[in-house]
Symmetry: C2
Subunit: 321 residues, 2 copies
């Protein structure tokens, strides 16, 4: 019997998405449930097991027709052993051998990887990185994540932590970063720091569009609010995206010189700022990177949105099974 199905899980700090996927591309059915309310991993594992079984049952797919199950998680993973070292924003997940646990319960092959690696894999096969051999994927959000496709394969590094693009120092004397370093990219363009920067810039400007859209409350300012203000033509908000683009561009100039990639794919909430941000990134890279690799690379928005992680998990499952 030909196996054409995979089960894909995108396990996040807010919710988990579980999908049954055909040919690593077609999402046949999907279930989403909150992970916030769970008090521990036992309950979550039980919920995952039940969901997978019911998705298969609903679509009348037998386990013998399933190649494997792929899971993306927000944190470092030992890909070979299938052990989660820890999860960002989810408690109780230190050194959990999830591969062994789930394959035992579900009688399926299980593969686990970092979520941004799987977003990179998804965009590479079906999205904005299609047709390339060397691609860097960036996700801009609370943190700045990265995934590397090099010579056509996901590059994981020596203990599976490669791709931490957010922790490239762009300013050797810059402010302390959570990672222990200084002046890291994330320290300038992570959500929290973007918002802090906006607050600083609107000080003494009670008529600022950003403040208006936040209902006059500083605490309500978010990247989405800055985005809305910039789309309404607010100069200060536009300036924030331009500045953000310059920081990202400086880090990418280094990556362009070192990796000589064909494409850089940028996703995540902040990427929704769109052309004003991308124009600034592209301009900075073209000014600062070396000529030959700068001419070669295209810097583009991600295409698959929320589904990149699920499709990447499906590809991971299929490639390894």
């Amino acid at each position: 019997m030909q196996k054409r199905y995979t089960v894909a899980i995108d396990l996040g700090g807010t919710n988990a998405k579980i999908a049954l996927i055909k040919d690593e591309k077609e999402i046949l059915s999907k279930e989403v449930f909150s992970t916030k309310d769970y008090q521990g991993r036992e309950v979550l594992i039980k919920q995952i097991t039940e969901s997978v079984n019911s998705l298969l049952k609903d679509k009348k797919v037998k386990k013998t027709q399933v190649k494997a199950l792929g899971i993306g998680v927000p944190g470092p993973v030992d890909f070979e052993k299938g052990v989660i070292y820890q999860l960002t924003n989810v408690k109780g997940w230190r050194d959990v051998p999830l591969k062994r646990i789930l394959s035992g319960k579900l009688k399926l092959k299980v593969y686990i990887d970092n979520d941004v690696n799987l977003i990179a894999l998804g965009e590479y096969k079906h999205g904005a990185g299609k047709g390339t051999k060397n691609m860097i994927c960036l996700t801009l959000g609370t943190g700045v994540g990265g995934g590397l496709i090099l010579d056509g394969r996901l590059y994981r590094g020596s203990n599976f932590t490669a791709g931490e693009v957010g922790h490239i120092p762009v300013n050797l004397q810059g402010p302390k970063c959570n990672c222990g370093g200084r002046g890291c990219l994330e320290r300038y363009v992570g959500n929290y720091y973007l918002v802090e920067r906006a607050k600083e810039l609107i000080k003494g400007k009670p008529n600022s569009e950003i403040l208006k859209l936040a209902g006059g409350r500083l605490s309500k300012i978010s990247p989405e609010i800055i985005d809305r203000a910039s789309k309404a033509g607010d100069k200060l908000a536009l300036g924030i995206w331009q500045e953000t683009g310059r920081y990202i561009g400086v880090a990418l100039a280094g990556l362009v010189n070192v990796f000589n990639p064909e494409r850089i794919v940028i996703g995540g909430g902040v990427a929704l700022a769109g052309e004003v941000l991308f124009a600034s990134i592209r301009k900075t890279v073209s000014l600062r990177a070396m000529e030959a690799p700068a001419r070669k690379v295209k810097i583009v928005p991600a295409k698959l949105g929320d589904e990149a992680g699920l499709l990447g998990a499906s590809i991971l499952a299929a490639e390894n099974s």
Copy 2:
């Protein structure tokens, strides 16, 4: 007949080394000649051809026993086509199809690559990178070069320019670099800038050890002089290496976070500064890189010295033939 021989050429701006090598390791004979006096590439190509033929004749090795010829050159190369785009410090080498020219004249298979890529390959197979899967090689000299071994293979990038570690920005508002960027690593630790820094620091210090070793002449100061001063215990010279190590360490912290390599191998003239430089690099990386990849990586001096490029060229020839 078993082919056990390769011919390796390390073509530099100062001289060319040509060697006959057995099993990609044993240098049977070697010839070195200056490339400075040559007025054009025709003469140099003729000299190479004659040298290769005479090396083979002397050792009674037939061309049918030679796997291939590998060449490393100081500049960007189209590895697949075997075309040299241009050479650093050697005139008359723009867009030269050296692979076609030499394979026609010598009736041998010919492979050409960037010299630092071949140093990386040499150190990876026989030197300080032996036994690893992911390794970064740095060469510290007039320029700062780099070669990447990722998942056990030389990574060349999309148009063969990958590895430009010297042009990672470490300071987004730093001084202009020759490459067009700003605040690049090379702009702080390339030979010229090291010497400028030394001159700046010894201003108003007529008794400085560096100045003494330079015979009182600022124009005689070189990285070698700084090295001799530091080895004689001169604090100012020691301080220059510590500062140099901090710049290198900041750039490497970014690479450690992005590549998660097992080993970083550092060679080139400046690396001879030894422990004072390496201690500063290691300390900076351990302070600034993320914990898991920082614990994994070992930062070590290159082992093969001048022979790394020849051995790398031999490996290149053998791997592709």
